[in-house]
C-alpha cells in the first residue's frame, strides 16, 4: 500500500467517531430519501402481484338492464378481452350479531371451491374465474344459504363462523333479487375487489357506504334475473405493472372497444326485452278481451231481468191505480148517500119541526081558544047573571022603555054572547079534533119518511164497510208494489254499481295494457357502464395513498440532505484544519493540490459511500415495510418483495455522496491554496469579535464571561450555528410533525365527538313505513327517558359541485328545529370558536366541503341530484352559503326547513332523528332492538361504532410517529455529536486553560455545553416553526376524502417536541462528558498547535 493510501486509512481509524458520524448522517439522508421513495413503488408492486395473483378484473361492465348470456359472449369477442365472468350483485341491509350493516352481496363463482391458494395468489383451472377470493378461515359455501364474508374484523364488525346474517327484506330492492333472506357464515375471505376496509364503495341504501360484503352461491340469486355485471380481464394487462401508464393505455383501448360495441348490445337488449314483454302483453290483452266480453254478457243479462221486473211493476201500478179509482167512486157514493141521509134527516127534522110548530101554533090557538072559552065559560054565569039581572030588570015593570029597550038590547047582546060562547066551544072542539087528525097524519108521514131515511143510512153503512175492506186490499196491493219497486230499485242500483265497477275495471285493465304497451314501446336502451379499476374505491384509495407517501417522500428527506451537507462541511473543514501542518508537509514534499485534496475527497467518499450503502440498504427495506405495515391496518394487500429500486437508490446515493464531496471540496480548497510555509504556521486564531448583543450594555454587563464567551462563540462559528440550528430544527420539526399528526388525527374523534357534536345516535325511519308502525316508533322516540334530547331532521344526499368542477358527496341536513339541533351539533368557526347560527339566510356548510369546493360564506353552492350510480345529474339547486363551520367527519350542508323547501321545492320529510341516548350499553341495545321491532326504523347508528372504527384506523399513524421520532433522535444525535465533538477537539486548549485556571469539571461542562444548549434551544424554536409548516403539509397531503384532519397542534405536542429535543441533547452531552474530562491539561498546553 502506498504511504499516501495508508495515511487515508489511518485517518479513518484515528477519527472513527468523525467518520462514523459523517457516514451516519449520509446514511440517514440517503436512507430516508430512498426508503420513502421506494415505499410507493413497493406498494404498487405488492398491489400488482396481488391483483395479478387473484386475477383481478381490469374492466367491469354494468348494464342498467342487466347483461344476458349473449352480452357476455359479445364481450368475450371484443378484441383484447381475455376472460369474462358474468356475476350477480346487490346491496342489502343485513343484521349480523345484532348489528346492522350495508352489505354488498356477490355471487360466488362455482370455480372458487376448486381454486388453490398459493401464498396470496389463487390458482384456478377456470380462466374465467376472476376477482379470486382468498379463503382466510372456514370453508367455501357448499349449499344455498351459506356465505363467506370479509375477513376484516376491524371495520366490518365482529363475527364468528356460524353466525347467521339476516337480510332486511323491507329495505331497498336488493333483497328482492335474492332467493332467501338468511345466510350462514361458513368462511371468511379476502377479495381483491375490496383491498380497503374503509373504502368499500358507496350504496344507495342505509348509511350510503358499503360496510361488509358477502359471497353467496349463484343459486341464491333470483334465477330469472340477468347478470348484473360482467368482470373481464384484458389480455397482456397482467404483465404490465398495475397503476402504470402502459397498463392504463392497454386497458383504455379495451374499454374503448367495449364502449364501441355497447350501443349495439344495448339496442339488442331492448329488442330482446321488448319482444319478451310484447308476447306477455299480447297474451294479457287476449285474456282481457275475453274477460271483457264475459263481463259485458253478464251485465246484459242482469239488465234484461231488471227490465222484466220493471214491466211487472208497472202493470201492478196500473191495477192499483184502477183499484184506487174504484175505491174513490165507492167513496163518493157513500159520501153522497151520507149526504142524502143527512139532507133527508135534516129535511125530516125540519118538517117535523114545522109540523110541531104548526101543531104548537094550532095547539096554542086551541089553547088560546080554550082559554078564551074558559074565560068565556067563566064569564058565562056572569053573563047569565047579567041576563038574569036584565031579565029581572026587564021584568021590572016600571022600566022605562028606553031602559027596557036598552036592557033588552043588553039582554040580546048578552044572550048572543052566551051563544057565541057555545059556538066557540063547538068550534074549538072541532078544531081540536081536526088538529088531532092532522097530527096523526103528520106522524104517519114522518114515520114513513124516517123509515125511508133509516133504510138509506143502512145502505151507506154497508157501503162504507165494503169500502174499508176494499181500501185495505188496496193498501196491501200498494205495499206489495212498493216492495217490488224497492227491490227493483236496489236491483238497478246494484246493477249500476256493478256495471260501473266492471267498466272501471275494464277501463283500468285497458289503461294498464296501454301503459304496458307504452312501457314496452318506451323501453330505453340500457346504459352500459364500462369501468376500469379506477372506479373501485379501494383500489383507487390504495393507489392514492401510495402517491401520498411519494408526495411526503419528496419533501421530508430534504432536511436530512441539508443537514448532511452541513455536517460534511463542518466535519471536513475541521479535519482539514486539524491536518493543516500535514497538508503543508505533503505540499512541501511535492504532492499536488489535487492529490492532497483527493485524500479528503476519498475520506468523504468512503464515509458517504458506506453511509449510503448502509442507509439505503437498511431503510429501503425498513421504511417501505413500516409504511405498508401501517397501511395494512386498512388495506389488505399482502406485502410483496421489498425490492431495491436502483434508479432511486443510485439517485439517493448520488445526492448523498455528491453533497458530501462538494462540501469536502469546499472545505479543503481554501486551505490548499495557502503556501506550504504558511501551512506550517498555526492558523491565525479566529479573532474574537464583538457581537450585536454587546451593544445592549446593561444586559451584556450583567452576563458572566462564560455566558459572554458562549454568545461570542455562537456567532463566531456561523457554519456550526447554521448546522446545529438546521439539524436541531429538523429534529424538532420531525418530532412536532409526528406528534402533531397524532393530534390532528385524534382531534378528528376528540373534537368531532367531544366538542362539536353532542348527539350519540342517529335513527332513520323507513320512508314507506305504515302509519301504525311509525306511530309505534314515534312513541319510543318521544320517550324522554330513553332519548332525553331528540331532534328530527330531513336528510338528503346530493353532490355539491364547486366552481372549479370539484364534486363532493354531501349530506344535506334540514333540522326541524334548528335551535334545538344546535344543541346537538355546535356550529362554530374553527378559529376563535365563534358560534354560527343556522338561519333562513342560507346553508351552513362544513369546512372541508367549503375548502374542497372553494367557497366561503356569502358565495353560492350548487347541489346536483345523483343517479343510481352516484354520478351528478343535470338537476341542480343553488343555495347561498351563510357560514362555514368546523367539522372533521363527513361533508355536510345544514339548512333550515324553510330554506330546504325553498331550495328543493320539497316538503321536509323529517325521517332522521338525531338524539342523545344513554351511555349504558345494555339500554342502548334494548333501544335499538325496540326501535327495529317497530318495523318503521331503517337504521340505528351509535357514534361509538364510528369512533371505534376510526380509532382502529388511526393506529396506523402511531407507527409513522415512531418512525419520525426515531429519525428525529438519530438526526439530533448525529448533529449534536458532531457539534460537541468539534467543539471539544477544537477548543481543547481553551478547555485545558480553564482546567488549569481551576475550573471545576462542572464549570467546564457548563462552559462548553451551555453553547450547545443555547444552540439547541434556538434550533428547537426554529424547529417548532418549521414543524408547524411541515405538519401542515403532511396533514393536507395525507388527508383522506370526507375527513378533515385536525388543524391544530396541541400545546403539549410543542412542549413534548421541545422537551424531547432537549432530552436528546442531554443524552449527547452526557455521552460527551468523559471526553471532556479526558482532556489533559499538560498535553493540550504543551505546544503551539
Amino acid at each position: 500500500m502506498r504511504a499516501f493510501s495508508k495515511d487515508v486509512v489511518r485517518s479513518i481509524r484515528h477519527s472513527l467517531g468523525r467518520f462514523v458520524a459523517l457516514a451516519a448522517i449520509v446514511a440517514l439522508g440517503t436512507g430516508f430519501y430512498a426508503g420513502l421513495r421506494m415505499a410507493p413503488p413497493d406498494m404498487n408492486l405488492a398491489a400488482d402481484a396481488y391483483y395479478d395473483g387473484t386475477a383481478l378484473m381490469d374492466v367491469r361492465v354494468v348494464s342498467t338492464l342487466g347483461l344476458t348470456e349473449e352480452d357476455i359472449e359479445a364481450l368475450r369477442a371484443v378484441d383484447g378481452v381475455e376472460a369474462v365472468m358474468g356475476a350477480y350483485s346487490t346491496d342489502v341491509l343485513a343484521t349480523m350479531n345484532d348489528e346492522q350493516y350495508v352489505m354488498r352481496v356477490h355471487s360466488l363463482s362455482p370455480s372458487a371451491a376448486a381454486s388453490v391458494q398459493e401464498g396470496s395468489a389463487v390458482a384456478s383451472d377456470d380462466s374465467d374465474y376472476l376477482n379470486r377470493l382468498e379463503l382466510a378461515e372456514g370453508r367455501w359455501p357448499a349449499a344455498p344459504g351459506e356465505c363467506v364474508i370479509f375477513n376484516d374484523k376491524v371495520m366490518s364488525g365482529p363475527s364468528e363462523l356460524g353466525d347467521v346474517i339476516v337480510v332486511d327484506a323491507s329495505v331497498g330492492e336488493g333483497a328482492g333479487t335474492l332467493a332467501r333472506t338468511e345466510f350462514t357464515v361458513v368462511g371468511r375471505v379476502h377479495s381483491p375487489l375490496y383491498v380497503s376496509s374503509t373504502a368499500m364503495g358507496t350504496s344507495t341504501i342505509g348509511s350510503g357506504a358499503v360496510e361488509q360484503f358477502m359471497y353467496v352461491m349463484p343459486e341464491d340469486f333470483d334465477p330469472d334475473l340477468p347478470f348484473v355485471e360482467a368482470y373481464l380481464t384484458v389480455a397482456g394487462a397482467a404483465d404490465l405493472p398495475a397503476n402504470s401508464i402502459a397498463y392504463d393505455d392497454r386497458v383504455s383501448a379495451v374499454v374503448a372497444a367495449i364502449e364501441a360495441i355497447a350501443p349495439e348490445r344495448e339496442q339488442a337488449r331492448v329488442a330482446g326485452l321488448q319482444a319478451e314483454a310484447q308476447a306477455d302483453l299480447d297474451e294479457a290483452r287476449a285474456e282481457f278481451e275475453e274477460e271483457k266480453a264475459r263481463a259485458q254478457t253478464e251485465l246484459g243479462d242482469a239488465r234484461a231481468e231488471l227490465d222484466a221486473a220493471k214491466a211487472e211493476l208497472d202493470d201492478g201500478q196500473r191495477q192499483l191505480d184502477s183499484a184506487a179509482s174504484a175505491l174513490a167512486a165507492s167513496e163518493k157514493k157513500i159520501s153522497d148517500g151520507e149526504k142524502r141521509y143527512a139532507q133527508g134527516t135534516e129535511a125530516l127534522a125540519k118538517r117535523r119541526a114545522d109540523a110541531e110548530a104548526q101543531f104548537a101554533e094550532a095547539q096554542a090557538a086551541v089553547e088560546a081558544n080554550e082559554a078564551n072559552l074558559a074565560e068565556a065559560n067563566a064569564a058565562l054565569p056572569t053573563l047569565e047573571a047579567s041576563v038574569a039581572q036584565v031579565e029581572a030588570a026587564l021584568a021590572a015593570p016600571e022600566l022605562p022603555e028606553e031602559q027596557r029597550a036598552q036592557l033588552e038590547a043588553q039582554k040580546a047582546e048578552l044572550e048572543k054572547s052566551i051563544a057565541d060562547i057555545a059556538a066557540a066551544a063547538a068550534a074549538l072542539d072541532e078544531a081540536k079534533a081536526q088538529l088531532a087528525a092532522q097530527r096523526t097524519a103528520a106522524d104517519e108521514q114522518m114515520a114513513a119518511a124516517q123509515k125511508q131515511l133509516d133504510q138509506g143510512k143502512l145502505d151507506v153503512e154497508e157501503g162504507t164497510a165494503r169500502l174499508q175492506e176494499g181500501r185495505a186490499e188496496y193498501e196491501q196491493a200498494k205495499a206489495d208494489l212498493e216492495a217490488g219497486r224497492a227491490t227493483y230499485e236496489q236491483g238497478v242500483a246494484d246493477y249500476d254499481v256493478a256495471a260501473a265497477e266492471a267498466n272501471e275495471k275494464l277501463d283500468e285493465a285497458e289503461r294498464e295494457l296501454a301503459d304496458a304497451q307504452q312501457k314496452i314501446d318506451d323501453i330505453e336502451p340500457p346504459d352500459w357502464l364500462v369501468m376500469d379499476r379506477s372506479k373501485n374505491f379501494g383500489l383507487v384509495s390504495f393507489e392514492n395513498d401510495a402517491a401520498r407517501v411519494d408526495a411526503i417522500a419528496s419533501f421530508f428527506p430534504l432536511i436530512f440532505f441539508l443537514v448532511a451537507a452541513l455536517v460534511a462541511l463542518t466535519t471536513m473543514t475541521r479535519m482539514v484544519e486539524e491536518e493543516r501542518m500535514l497538508i503543508g508537509t505533503f505540499k512541501a514534499l511535492g504532492y499536488s493540490r489535487g492529490r492532497i485534496t483527493s485524500k479528503y475527497l476519498i475520506y468523504a467518499a468512503l464515509a458517504a459511500g458506506l453511509g449510503s450503502i448502509v442507509g439505503i440498504g437498511a431503510l429501503s427495506q425498513l421504511l417501505p415495510w413500516v409504511v405498508m405495515e401501517a397501511y395494512s391496518i386498512v388495506y389488505y394487500v399482502p406485502s410483496g418483495p421489498l425490492i431495491v429500486d436502483w434508479p432511486i437508490a443510485l439517485a439517493a446515493a448520488g445526492i448523498g455522496v455528491g453533497i458530501t464531496l462538494a462540501a469536502t471540496w469546499a472545505a479543503a480548497a481554501a486551505t490548499l491554496r495557502e503556501t506550504p510555509a504558511a501551512l506550517m504556521q498555526p492558523p491565525a486564531p479566529k479573532a474574537g469579535k464583538r457581537i450585536l448583543l454587546e451593544r445592549v450594555g446593561p444586559l451584556w454587563r450583567r452576563l458572566s464571561f462564560s455566558w459572554k464567551v458562549t454568545f461570542r462563540n455562537i456567532f463566531r462559528y456561523k457554519r456550526r450555528l447554521v448546522m446545529t440550528c438546521v439539524g436541531i430544527a429538523g429534529c424538532t420539526a420531525l418530532l412536532l410533525t409526528g406528534l402533531g399528526l397524532q393530534n390532528s388525527i385524534n382531534d378528528i374523534i376528540d373534537v368531532q365527538y367531544g366538542e362539536i357534536v353532542d348527539y350519540n345516535v342517529v335513527i332513520t325511519e323507513k320512508e314507506d313505513a305504515s302509519d301504525a308502525d311509525r306511530e309505534a316508533a314515534r312513541v319510543l322516540l318521544d320517550d324522554e327517558g330513553r332519548l332525553p334530547v331528540a331532534v328530527r331532521a330531513t336528510e338528503a344526499s346530493l353532490i355539491a359541485v364547486g366552481a372549479n368542477g370539484t364534486e363532493a358527496m354531501t349530506t344535506i341536513v334540514a333540522p326541524d328545529d334548528p335551535l334545538a339541533f344546535q344543541g346537538l351539533w355546535h356550529f362554530r368557526a374553527r378559529e376563535g370558536h365563534e358560534t354560527r347560527d343556522l338561519t333562513d339566510d342560507g346553508a351552513v356548510i362544513t369546512e372541508k366541503l367549503a375548502t374542497k369546493l372553494g367557497v366561503a360564506a356569502g358565495d353560492e353552492i350548487t347541489f346536483a341530484e345523483q343517479d343510481d350510480l352516484g354520478n351528478a345529474t343535470a338537476v341542480t339547486y343553488t343555495v347561498p352559503v351563510a357560514a362555514v363551520v368546523e367539522n372533521y367527519i363527513g361533508d355536510y350542508a345544514f339548512v333550515t326547513p324553510a330554506v330546504f323547501e325553498r331550495t328543493f321545492s320539497e316538503e321536509p320529510a323529517n325521517l332522521t332523528v338525531y338524539a342523545r341516548a344513554t351511555d349504558d350499553a345494555a339500554e342502548r341495545a334494548a333501544l335499538s332492538e325496540a326501535l327495529r321491532a317497530t318495523g318503521a326504523v331503517d337504521t340505528v347508528a351509535f357514534n361509538d361504532e364510528v369512533i371505534d372504527s376510526y380509532r382502529q384506523m388511526l393506529k396506523s399513524v402511531n407507527m409513522i410517529v415512531v418512525v419520525l421520532v426515531v429519525a428525529a433522535a438519530a438526526l439530533a444525535f448525529i448533529v449534536l455529536y458532531n457539534l460537541t465533538n468539534i467543539n471539544i477537539t477544537e477548543r481543547a486548549r481553551e478547555i485545558a486553560t480553564l482546567k488549569v485556571l481551576g475550573f471545576t469539571p462542572r464549570e467546564v461542562n457548563a462552559y462548553i455545553f451551555r453553547e450547545i444548549v443555547l444552540l439547541t434551544i434556538l434550533g428547537a424554536l426554529v424547529g417548532l416553526g418549521l414543524g408547524v409548516v411541515l405538519e401542515g403539509f403532511v396533514v393536507v397531503t395525507a388527508e383522506v376524502d370526507q375527513v378533515m384532519f385536525g388543524r391544530t397542534i396541541h400545546a403539549v405536542s410543542f412542549a413534548v417536541a421541545f422537551a424531547l429535543t432537549m432530552v436528546f441533547t442531554a443524552v449527547v452531552m452526557a455521552a460527551m462528558r468523559p471526553k471532556l474530562a479526558k482532556i489533559d491539561m499538560v498535553e493540550s498546553l504543551k505546544s503551539n498547535e
Partner: protein, 233 residues
C-alpha cells in the same frame, strides 16, 4: 518550614511495557517571596516539575508541600480547588481565550476565586490599562503574555508559575515580561517560579534550581540578583 518543599518527588510515565521516570527523587525548597528560576535542557523534567507543583499533574511518589498543605496527597477535586485559589499559571503560548477581551480574560480567572484583585488594577499593573477592551487577536505576543500574567495575578495566588513565559517572544518583549515578573515578585512579595531552558535567566533569580535528567542537579541562592532590565542573552 519552607514555603514550597519537594521531598523525593518522582513522576513515572507508563509507556506501554516500560515505565519512564520523568522526575526522579527530586527534593528542593523555596521560600516565600522568592523569584525562582528552574533551569535545565529540554526533557530534563522541569515542566513536569512545574505541572506537579501547579496541581496539573500528580506525583507518583514523594511529597509536595505548599504553605503547609500536602499537595501531593490531594485528590482530583482538591487539586482543582488548589489550582483555583493558590496557583497562577503563565504559559509559553499565553493560552488566552480568544473570544474574551483582555479584561474579560482576567476576569475569567478572578471571577472563580475567593479573594481576587480588581481586574483593571491588575491590567494597569501590567501596563495594559488602555488595551483592556481588546481581544487577544488584536494584541501583540508580549501584550498577550501580559494579559496572561495579569490573569494569573488577578487570582491573587500564593504561587505564580511561569512555563517558558518568553519562549514565543522576541528578546525585548521577553525581557519586558521578565521584568514584569520580577517587579511583581519584588513589589507584591509574591513567590514566582519561572521555568526556562535559558540559563541567562538565572542571573535575575533569588534562587536557581538546576534540573538535569529528571533530578535536581543543584540549587543555588543568588544573593544579588540582577534586574531583568540589564539581562542579555
Amino acid at each position: 518550614m519552607a514555603f514550597v518543599e519537594f521531598r523525593d518527588v518522582s513522576k513515572m510515565y507508563q509507556m506501554g511495557e516500560v515505565s519512564v521516570a520523568a522526575v526522579r527523587a527530586m527534593s528542593f525548597q523555596i521560600e516565600q517571596g522568592e523569584f525562582v528560576v528552574i533551569v535545565g535542557p529540554s526533557g530534563a523534567g522541569k515542566t513536569t516539575l512545574l505541572n506537579m507543583l501547579g496541581g496539573m499533574d500528580s506525583a507518583t511518589s514523594g511529597t509536595i508541600m505548599l504553605d503547609g498543605a500536602e499537595v501531593s496527597s490531594f485528590n482530583r477535586r482538591q487539586l482543582t480547588q488548589y489550582r483555583r485559589h493558590d496557583i497562577g499559571f503563565v504559559f509559553q503560548f499565553y493560552n488566552l481565550v480568544q473570544n474574551l477581551t483582555a479584561r474579560e480574560n482576567v476576569e475569567l480567572a478572578s471571577q472563580i476565586c475567593r479573594d481576587p484583585l480588581p481586574a483593571d488594577e491588575v491590567l494597569a499593573a501590567v501596563g495594559l490599562a488602555d488595551r483592556a477592551r481588546n481581544f487577544p487577536g488584536q494584541l501583540s505576543g508580549g501584550e498577550q503574555q501580559r494579559v496572561a500574567i495579569a490573569r494569573a495575578l488577578a487570582k491573587n495566588p500564593k504561587l505564580l508559575l511561569c512555563d517558558e513565559p518568553t519562549g514565543a517572544l522576541d528578546f525585548e518583549t521577553g525581557k519586558a515580561i521578565l521584568r514584569l515578573l520580577q517587579d511583581t515578585c519584588r513589589t507584591t512579595g509574591r513567590t514566582v517560579v519561572v521555568v526556562t531552558h535559558n540559563s541567562a535567566f538565572t542571573a535575575i533569580a533569588d534562587r536557581v534550581i538546576h534540573v538535569r535528567e529528571g533530578s535536581v542537579a543543584a540549587v543555588e541562592r543568588n544573593e544579588a540578583p540582577l534586574s531583568a532590565e540589564v539581562l542579555e542573552w
